[in-house]
Amino acid sequence: MKHLLGIKDLPTSQIENILTTAREFKEVINRPIKKVPSLRDITIANVFFENSTRTRISFELAEKRLSADIVNFSASTSSVKKGETLLDTVNNILAMKVDMIVIRHSSVGAPHFLARHINASVVNAGDGTHEHPTQALLDAYSVWEKLGTIEGKKIALIGDILHSRVALSNIFVFQKLGAEVMVCGPPTLLPKHIEALGVKVTTKLHEALQWCDVANVLRIQLERQQIKYFPSLREYSLYYGINQAMLNQLDKEIVLMHPGPINRGVELSSDAADSPQAIILDQVENGVAVRMAVLYLLAEQR
């Protein structure tokens, strides 16, 4: 594994390797001394062309706890339009002897484009509406940790499937690990050919909740919707928002996940988001361990 560009082409054995390595790092970050010297000679650039708080901090912490040297570069994509191309920007950073690039970009395939043209290892921290592999890995890890296994479990992805890179990476990772996946959302937010990926499809929230063991509730990506896909947030939250009362009506206790940041009162009500069924903050903690595992394994290959 030279790069981590997506889950689609990642062999299952490597996914399992990342998850077991992450378990070791989770133990490390819960020690009083949270730092290991594994990446002492490695310099990593976090290049974020799109706003991010959670993912950037998570990567930064993972890097720091592995003792890597880091530089952060944030720019809006609009500055690219002003002149410098993505390739130039990254080559300029690499000229300062950087070993790895963690990139988030609003364009699909931007990390793949870089991986083709540069020498450093590339980690995809989210590319447009395509993939967000480390999020999928930490989601898988969190389910594994909570339920003891992933194989045979039923995972429902609920919300804006069309614009969500988390959805796509989640579909790939959970299928590879033997889970069943269902997607649920208003028809306009479901890709027309999504069934071809081997997932169940429903537009009824209740049906998805009844079916699943785990509900991964996705953000409404208003910033990524170039045109109107539904009439109003009010109507969306009424028909696709999840609250504790709905969870209480189910005949089993399901696990509730969310990749954050939550639009409280839209896709999740506060009582659901803060309920014991929700493992949203565990996901955040596991994110650091999983990213440490990814960076560690990539560095090992250098």
Binding site: L86, S107, V108, G109, A110, H130, E131, P191, K192, A196
Partner: protein
């Protein structure tokens, strides 16, 4: 200088000598002799240039000069991508003796002087350029250009090129207005709203890649509505670069009904499917987008049955700055003129489409649709010929591409078939 095409097989469906091997002599731009190689009376002298395959079983073929009905040389306006000079050179070396240029330059082709600029080398260059003039000013889809005037100035057809003429009333009026001239309206079928923000074919691959798709429907819905207008008003309508199997069904039904509707397909559209996009390689970002194997199969059938008359290059050269960027920011279009015939012929063999059909689609058919004179292979005729080797294999590398733009979708592939020589305008080109 006299040229002797020795023992060449004539591929020209309606010619007397179709599928026969002949010696053809060309002098001062005219065909002077056509002889049976076994009974040749004409003997080459040291001053004559003989064009002959080195191996007997790889004999060259000859057809009337190849004709590309849809290309862009980006000049004037975006000369960093291609120029008239480099485009002409590419066309000639690829075997094309005549090329139609789309009007999407900057400025748009909409005045007599725009046409004169594009035809300035026609007297001196082997390859003749035929400008297609814009229907509306700046291709804005609103205000009509002076089409009669443009027609008399040399416009061979009318089209808003890469932009679809979406205004139904204006389409109707243009079809009417062009009738006294018997001129052709060329339409790129696309519903701009259904395809907006789309980057590739909408299908399984776009779903896997998380990319906004361009549905087949965007093309089909435009074809369906345009055919209804054609039925209502009459005229001659040609659909440029169709890509969907259902489009083909609609056009077939309209043709059977007796409507004057024709269509073309880009050679790369017959060869490559949307799975190539998985690499995010911008060379495959074209419009219409690369579709599915099912579409490709239907398009070949359409070509074999004559529903699709014409194969075009849809040459849209782009520069590095437009292509070496993130996929969604890259321009649509690929540099394809260098490889149009080779791609067409290489892939035709997988679909059992004959060489004759391929050649018709780049020779007689486009000229017939445009009501342009069709050259002949007869003694006394002007030499407008392309000599080619169907057997010759070559690897597509940036070095062998003549176009200024190297973003060719067949890069690194081995293709079969290459132009060896061509003749037109009293000039000759011989490949080294």
């Amino acid at each position: 200088m006299r040229y002797c095409l020795k023992n060449v097989k004539i591929i020209n469906k309606n010619a007397t000598f179709h599928q026969q091997n002949k010696n053809i002599w060309i002098e001062n731009g005219y065909i002077t002799h056509i002889e049976n190689p076994q009974e040749a009376l004409q003997k080459p002298t040291a001053d004559d240039k003989v064009i002959e395959a080195t191996k007997v079983d790889e004999a060259y073929c000859v057809s009337i000069g190849w004709f590309d009905m849809c290309a862009n040389f980006q000049d004037p306006g975006q000369e960093s991508k291609e120029t008239l000079r480099s485009g002409l050179q590419t066309a000639m070396q690829a075997g094309f003796t005549e090329v139609c240029l789309q009007p999407n330059t900057n400025p748009v082709v909409q005045t007599k002087s725009d046409i004169a600029y594009l035809t300035q080398y026609n007297a001196s260059h082997l390859t003749t350029l035929h400008p297609i003039a814009a229907i509306t000013q700046q291709t804005n889809g609103k205000d009509l250009n002076d089409m009669i005037d443009l027609y008399h100035a040399g416009a061979v057809a009318f089209s808003d090129g890469n932009k679809t003429l979406w205004n139904t009333d204006l389409l109707l009026k243009t079809l009417q207005y062009l009738q006294p001239l018997n001129a052709l309206l060329i339409q790129k079928p696309n519903d701009a709203l259904l395809s907006q923000f789309g980057l590739m074919n909408e299908g399984i691959v776009s779903t896997q890649l998380g990319m906004k798709g361009i549905p087949h429907l965007a093309e089909e819905i435009c074809i369906s509505r345009d055919i209804d207008i054609l039925r209502y008003v009459g005229g001659k309508l040609h659909f440029n670069t169709i890509s969907s199997s259902k489009s083909l069904k609609q056009i077939k039904a309209a043709q059977e009904e007796g409507l004057a509707v024709t269509c073309d397909v880009a050679a790369h559209q017959l060869c490559l499917d949307d799975s190539f996009l998985a690499s995010f390689d911008t060379r495959f970002k074209v419009f219409p987008p690369l579709r599915t194997q099912n579409d490709i199969k239907s398009l070949w059938e359409g070509l074999e049955k004559g529903i699709i008359g014409v194969v075009v290059s849809d040459h849209q050269p782009q520069d590095e700055e437009s292509k070496q960027v993130e996929f969604d920011m890259a321009e649509f279009g690929a540099s394809t003129l260098d490889t149009t015939f080779a791609a067409l012929y290489t892939y035709s063999q997988q679909y059992n489409v004959s060489l004759t059909t391929c050649i018709e689609a780049i020779t007689s058919q486009p000229r017939s649709i445009l009501s342009l004179p069709i050259p002949t292979i007869e003694v006394g005729a002007k030499a407008n010929l392309t000599v080619f080797s169907p057997k010759k294999e070559w690897v597509v590398t940036p070095e062998v591409l003549v176009s200024n733009s190297k973003h060719n979708p067949f890069l690194r592939q081995t293709l079969q078939g290459k132009a060896i020589a061509c003749f037109n305008n009293k000039q000759a080109y011989l490949a080294q």
